[in-house]
Symmetry: C2
Subunit: 388 residues, 2 copies
Amino acid sequence: MEEVQLQERYADPVPEALCIAPAAKVGDVSDAIDTPSLVLDLDAFEDNLRTMQVLAERHGVALRPHAKAHRCPEIALRQVALGAVGICCQKVTEAVPFVQAGLRDIHISNEIVGEPKLRLLAQLARKAHITVCADHAVALRALSAAMAGHGASVGVMVDVDVGQKRCGVQTPGEAVELAKLARALPGISFAGIQAYHGGLQHKRSLDQRQKACDKAARLVRRYVDALEQAGIACPVVTGGGTGTAVFDVASQLYTEIQSGTYAFMDTDYGGIDWGEALAFRHSLFLLGTVMSTPAADRAIMDFGLKSTSAESGAPRPVGWPGLRCVAVHDEHSILQADDAKNMPALGDKIRLIPGHCDPTFNLHDSVVALRGDRVEAIWAISARGLSR
Amino acid sequence: MEEVQLQERYADPVPEALCIAPAAKVGDVSDAIDTPSLVLDLDAFEDNLRTMQVLAERHGVALRPHAKAHRCPEIALRQVALGAVGICCQKVTEAVPFVQAGLRDIHISNEIVGEPKLRLLAQLARKAHITVCADHAVALRALSAAMAGHGASVGVMVDVDVGQKRCGVQTPGEAVELAKLARALPGISFAGIQAYHGGLQHKRSLDQRQKACDKAARLVRRYVDALEQAGIACPVVTGGGTGTAVFDVASQLYTEIQSGTYAFMDTDYGGIDWGEALAFRHSLFLLGTVMSTPAADRAIMDFGLKSTSAESGAPRPVGWPGLRCVAVHDEHSILQADDAKNMPALGDKIRLIPGHCDPTFNLHDSVVALRGDRVEAIWAISARGLSR
């Protein structure tokens, strides 16, 4: 196909810079924020950080928050400032902006396969203390060769499957073999095991979660025992999430927990039973504007799947009783009012709790941090899109 | 919360630039592309562009492809080079990189509400021919005031609801009133009507789509007639999508069609019945790597919801009979093999057809354009994330 010669075909008729203004500036009231925007209630966010930090410290367990939830270095720095030992990332590229921001202790809670990823990992490992997961001897040998070849070293957490049926070795015997291999090969060292079970996090009842955690813990115990019997100390057992943190810290097995969503919450985690165990507040909201009111009980919002994930359910409007989000399209969402008397007007701004915070953060380049109703800061979501 | 003084807390131990290499370089074979990456088969893509262009021209209807599907100026330039009259965008910010790339005829197929958006719209309208939608007199007056105030002018397409129950006026009388207002107010002019029905696009059988299109067309006819009876010429009727294009071009009502997905396809559109009417090829794929093989019939891929949308269904592996994507998590996807003999190995790269192309493009900063098995170009998805 012919290459289009733009300069010849179109001259810019107005030599004026065309630039997109930020959604808000510091000091603005929230109603002045352009939409759709992701906003963070700092008071609720800081409460959440403290609540989880206190929980972990009370049990002598390290908190290593998962930065995949937010991909925002400013947030990670605040977690570490309150006592977190470091962070988790899920991808090698994702870790880059965090290392650039000064984070120096990062667990990449995932298997790393492929030469470009290993090359970047070696670069990161020359600047920061890095651990990664492994569940296969072939991958572990490639990891060792790459680290040794690039003059770097990383710690290896053997990933063990405690029931999620995702990654991870399936038997304690395999874990022992991988740990031995990690101890024998150059450029890597055995750092512990990762035992994460995402499926448990969202079980609705507290009792169900407790029972499922007990079952997973018995599996973790088998892995730790097998390593001990093989004469291999297991300094770290890492895992746990927001939904199971209260059980994981009390398990006397996990030495660190990887919760991420606790700082923000979403309708997914908001919908599970928390008992009186922990109380996290909704701190993260999508701010949208009513762009059309075609019927007395229907408002069309200016956001869709490109601003909020919907695979875990639609976002939930806050402060509008009887108003429900009934559809999320590519670029619009539809709010339906039970009672036309409680309908927002054209141009009204509405806050909604996202269905699932991790993929929602990943749709935005920045988050507007609010103190009360004022913009205190705008933080870059620097690792947005870094999924390699 | 205390401000973290990074410079004091952490000195960079290795003063070496940390940078993320592109996923591929021109000339690479596809197997060398780092993953997850979005890849475009140029031969199939160009076939699709020609197929739709020929269809539109055969019926004397203009093709104005929807750039919300791809958000990539390089793609829009190729559509216009083949004969498209311009493009559609869905958001004001989204239009910016397209205008910067030289596109000079853009229909923003959406209602625009809010001062920051109107300010940017006026900037765009000084550089390009811009039309926008309106379905409310209050919004139309604000649009007029902003355009006139900033010395700009835009065309207005009155948005009419032809059954989708989203935006749009509900009666021909309302459309006539808005058209009159658009003709009377400064800074704006009446440009036509938009009659888009997203819900029809995905009806599975060709016959169902035909019947639904006929019904919608009868509604469109009522709007055009009402305008004519009021002495208002309606120069443009814009609407239509990939699923209904074959009927819309033959309707003798639509003067331009807004299809977007036709250039790429996805499992959503791939799953509807096309009869012998049109044949679009799958040109868009997600490339992923097998990062774990924990069971004989299960492979874990290195992509999840941050690389592919899943609300319209999981992506579908290509070239691996009996291999199905059974789960898409935040950062992983799980492939299940019907037969363990047809399982990929650790490190294998697999192409998958995304479930829904629009939100999938919006997750990536670039798309790797392949000619056969070689990388011909890497195109920036410059409007990725521009949803205000």
